[in-house]
């Protein structure tokens, strides 16, 4: 089992990470090796979004004539560059009935172009010693290469070429659909926790496409085809819908002429309007879903609340939710862990998270795994009491300080990792934030007050905004239910 770490908080994930992936991400590939040997290497691959602290790098940001945005984050410590292109399109932009299409196209983007037929881009990277991969979420699709700095122009040329030159045939599309189905089997079908997670999210979103899994519903994945992929590609893959983020041993002045020479030559090919997805009506009902699987040897509970994202929140509210998630559920000093695991001895693990980086209304999650013999009812009553306590009485200054210190330190730790910096900026800029907002994030977190955290709990952690999922070995029989 593996989780994808929390967006915005890679560094602070506790040693014993919680069992549920917070951000649904599908990758082009990952190391099977890490799974078999029990590591969680993949976890370092995605987590997005937080910011550079004071004293961070001098970031350049410019827009080409065709509408492509470019962000350059210098880090001159080693002669290595991380080059990423982020398209402002994800699974939530798919049309109904075509779930999984954004992710399927991401896989197909490796099938070659007119100018660079099948495999030439990957073969070049395999020759020069570059790493590459790609990922899809509900809001964005990204592609990256990590290379020695002198190859930056090469990868920019290849990446600009595949922005519009993709060539697909049934011969390379159909086997790739099987690959995606195996990815589905691995991530979802083989994992009871992941399947319950899909059900909880689907039940949470009554109207918004965030309710669909990024990888898609299996019966719809099975029917995706070449024409679907090309239509989606032509509509969304255009320079005026993309952000290039380059981090590493380069400067903005070096990148600008290169960007003009490569990406700058690609004409915008479609108008991109505002991203208007069907929004959620105000939630009114407490919802519960139960999933049984004979393979469940450790029951668990996971709950998601519908809450504002960094993009939809009123000023300061998203930052308050970040702090709240840390106080409630970040590691062993958190309220949930201390109360449910240590003091009341009801759970083997408990915690919480907030998916702040999102274009539309997002999720705040809590979870717990009961000790043998502890009922869900007992566990949930205790969990509810922890949340109610914060909503009624707020948090202590020491808790506030600890959470803020952790969140702000993450921005400093991020400066040690060019790939992390690139992901923060890419994810933020494709979910409605600006470079300035990313850079000012530590300051905004620093300004959060204990009262704001209490108010966030009071307003948003209302059970009527939530779905609670229970994972069990078998469903209770009807008699048991009524007795």
């Amino acid at each position: 089992m593996f989780s994808f770490g929390s967006p915005r908080r890679r560094g602070c994930s506790p040693a014993r990470a919680h069992p549920f992936g917070q951000r649904t991400v599908a990758f082009r590939s990952f190391s099977h090796f890490s799974r078999v040997f029990g590591a969680i290497a993949v976890a370092s691959m995605i987590m997005a979004c937080g910011p550079a602290g004071a004293g961070g790098p001098q970031i350049s940001h410019f827009t080409l004539d065709n509408g492509l945005e470019v962000v350059v984050i210098p880090d001159h410590r080693t002669p290595v560059v991380t080059h990423m292109i982020w398209y402002r399109v994800g699974s939530a932009d798919e049309q109904a009935g075509k779930s999984g299409l954004a992710h399927f196209l991401e896989h197909l983007m490796f099938k070659g172009t007119e100018k660079n037929p099948a495999g030439r881009f990957s073969e070049t990277l395999a020759t020069i010693g570059g790493q590459e991969n790609a990922f899809t979420t509900a809001d964005y699709t990204g592609y990256f290469q990590r290379i020695a700095r002198e190859y930056l122009p090469t990868v920019m040329e290849f990446e600009a070429d595949r922005m519009t030159g993709l060539v697909l045939t049934d011969a390379n599309v159909l086997p790739e659909r099987d690959v995606v189905l195996e990815e589905y089997n691995m991530r979802v079908a083989n994992s009871p926790e992941a399947r319950l997670g899909e059900q909880v999210t689907a039940a949470l979103y009554l109207n918004h496409p965030y309710g669909r899994p990024v990888i898609g519903w299996r019966p719809e994945i099975e029917k995706l085809n070449r024409e679907d992929a090309l239509a989606f590609y032509r509509r969304f893959y255009t320079p005026n819908n993309a952000v290039v983020v380059i981090a590493g041993d380069v400067t903005g002045a070096e990148v600008k002429p290169l960007a003009e020479k490569t990406y700058g030559k690609v004409a915008a090919r479609s108008e991109i309007g505002p991203r208007m997805r069907p929004q959620e009506p105000p939630p009114v009902a407490v919802r519960q879903v139960t999933m049984a699987d004979p393979r469940v040897a450790q029951p668990s509970l996971q709950r998601s609340y519908l809450v504002p994202s960094s993009t939809t929140a009123k000023g300061g509210e998203s930052e308050a939710l970040e702090v709240l998630a840390h106080v409630l559920g970040g590691g062993e000093t958190s309220r949930l862990y201390r109360t449910l695991v240590i003091e009341q001895h009801l759970a083997t693990n408990a915690g919480g998270w907030y998916q702040g980086t999102a274009l539309d209304e997002t999720r705040f999650g809590v979870y717990a795994s009961p000790l043998p013999g502890v009922s869900f009812a007992t566990l949930e009553t205790a969990l509810d009491a922890v949340i109610a306590e914060v909503a009624e009485h707020g948090i202590a200054e020491v808790e506030l300080d600890r959470a803020k210190t952790r969140l702000i330190a993450d921005a400093v730790y991020a400066q040690d990792n060019q790939a992390t910096m690139a992901r923060w900026y890419g994810a933020a800029l494709t979910t409605g934030a600006t470079v300035e907002q990313v850079a000012a994030w530590p300051k905004r977190v620093g300004a959060v007050t204990a009262d704001e955290v209490r108010d966030a709990a009071r307003t948003w952690l209302d059970k009527r905004r939530s779905v609670t999922g229970y994972l069990v070995k078998e469903l209770p029989s009807p008699q048991e239910k009524h007795s």
Binding site: G11, C12, V179, M186, A297
Partner: protein, 453 residues
């Protein structure tokens, strides 16, 4: 055609990691090349060696360390001791109970992690340099004065058992455990690193203390520090953390062993849509003169890029799997070669056939000239990607010390890859891939015979 040669941006003087020797006691520093980062061999006032890379531009310190001895030191009937002990090191130490310890760690955003592998016990510390004293003090307490209070031991035991319960029906875990227990009967490698549902309840505090006493010692310790710290300070910090440890470890000796059961295939029935396949055979030791050639051969077969033979044949051409890998696993007491993938039930037989036939084909004919050239080019070109964060550099420097490759290894390494010849890879492909594999498969056997697909 896009040229692979550098264009536009000229390669800067690569900021190479150059070796140097430094002793804090007798200050003697080698001159360093302009724009080069130096690996300094720091010997602390108490005589503890560490490798240091100073990097003042980001206000952080990354420290990695390793002791010889991990799960291989678990008592025969109690697998999981090393894993449980390392899970408890930050659960109270010195004058701090578990709660206070965690609060102190989090108040300064310190990251402290411990892990037990089959052969090693490793740890890592990440801290803002402003909090270095607090961070190193907390690490010292963990390593020298961990409490193992009964209440914390029982809590962590429950957590470990909860994880083990989950694993009892995880196809990956089942395939892996069956492989290891079949390949290494009666050997520490055959026992589960995290223990079992039977063994973990029997582990006592005395077992945990005994493991720490035997393993946490200065004679097998390897340390690397990277970041905003100078050599003199690093020396002091090292003494503070590790100076109080016993000089000598007391390890149970572990026999060398070759994996058993090669040529066997073991299937375990589990009702999952996707079957997991794991194959392993005899590999090549890290200090074997053929290691680098084997590294190239593995890259051709199933190494890291999207161009390996397995990736191409299993995934690209046939769409059989999402992930497929091969790897050399040079352990201290056994050298292994492994490969694995996962595919839907009715394609399991076909997938296994493709894996086996690709292994056989490479063993018989070796890589092509083109594959050899490209593999070497990839392996040399990508080496720098292992050094772009402080944590990655620290991890590399500890591994180089464990493998006893020398402080100048980073300078030499690409030359060693370049020196691999066609004759080498042909010979080593045969040696590595022709020895037979033990196969474990976990999944649901197809109801009807597989029809290719």
């Amino acid at each position: 055609m896009i040229a692979c040669a550098p264009n536009g941006l000229q390669a800067r003087n690569p900021r190479r990691l150059l070796p140097a020797v430094m002793s804090v006691a007798a200050v003697l520093m080698m001159p360093v090349a302009a724009q080069a980062t130096t690996i300094e061999r720091v010997v602390s006032p108490q005589g503890i060696e560490a490798w240091l890379v100073q990097e003042p531009s980001v206000p952080l310190i990354a420290l990695d360390f390793a002791f010889r001895g991990g799960a291989d030191q678990d008592p025969v009937n109690k697998p999981g001791v090393a894993n449980m002990a390392t899970s408890l090191l930050d659960e109270g130490a010195g004058e701090l109970d578990s709660k206070s310890f965690h609060e102190r760690v989090e108040a300064k955003a310190i990251e402290l992690n411990f892990n037990a592998t089959r052969d090693q016990t490793t740890g890592s510390l990440r801290t803002l340099s402003a909090h270095q004293d607090e961070a190193f003090e907390l690490l010292r307490l963990s390593l020298t004065a961990a409490h193992f209070d009964p209440v914390d031991v029982e809590r962590i035991r429950e957590q470990l058992l909860s994880g083990l319960r989950r694993e009892t029906t995880s196809p990956n875990e089942m395939a892996s455990q069956k492989w290891w227990s079949t390949a290494f009967p009666g050997h520490p490698y055959g026992r589960p690193v995290r223990g079992s549902i039977e063994s973990v309840p029997t582990i006592t505090t005395a077992d945990l203390r005994d493991y720490m006493k035997r393993v946490f010692a200065r004679d097998t310790l390897k340390i690397a520090i990277v970041g905003d710290v100078d050599a003199a300070t690093a020396g002091k910090l090292i003494d503070k953390v590790f100076g109080g440890l016993p000089a000598k470890s007391s390890l149970v000796s572990v026999a060398e062993m070759k994996p058993q059961g090669l040529g066997q295939k073991i299937s375990i029935d589990l009702d999952v849509p996707q079957s997991v396949l794991m194959l392993g055979g005899i590999g090549i030791a890290r200090n074997d003169p053929d290691f680098m050639a084997a590294f190239v051969v593995n890259h051709v077969l199933g190494g890291g890029s999207f161009s390996s033979r397995l990736y191409h044949e299993v995934r690209e051409v046939r769409g059989l799997a999402y992930s497929v890998f091969s790897a050399l696993i040079p352990l201290d007491h056994a050298a292994l070669f492994m490969t694995g993938t996962a595919t839907r039930a009715d394609r399991t037989a076909q997938t296994l056939e493709v894996l086996e036939s690709e292994i056989h084909r490479l063993a018989e004919t070796g890589p092509t000239e083109d594959e050899l050239v490209k593999s070497k080019s990839f392996l040399t070109g990508s080496y720098g990607l292992r050094f772009d964060t402080s944590g990655k550099i620290a991890a590399q420097l500890v591994q180089i010390q464990i493998d006893d490759l020398g402080i100048d290894y980073i300078e030499k390494r690409n030359g060693l890859v370049e020196a691999v010849t066609m004759a080498d890879v042909k010979r080593v492909a045969k040696r590595l891939l022709d020895g037979g594999m033990l196969v474990t498969v976990v999944g649901r056997p197809p109801v009807t015979p597989a029809k290719g697909g």
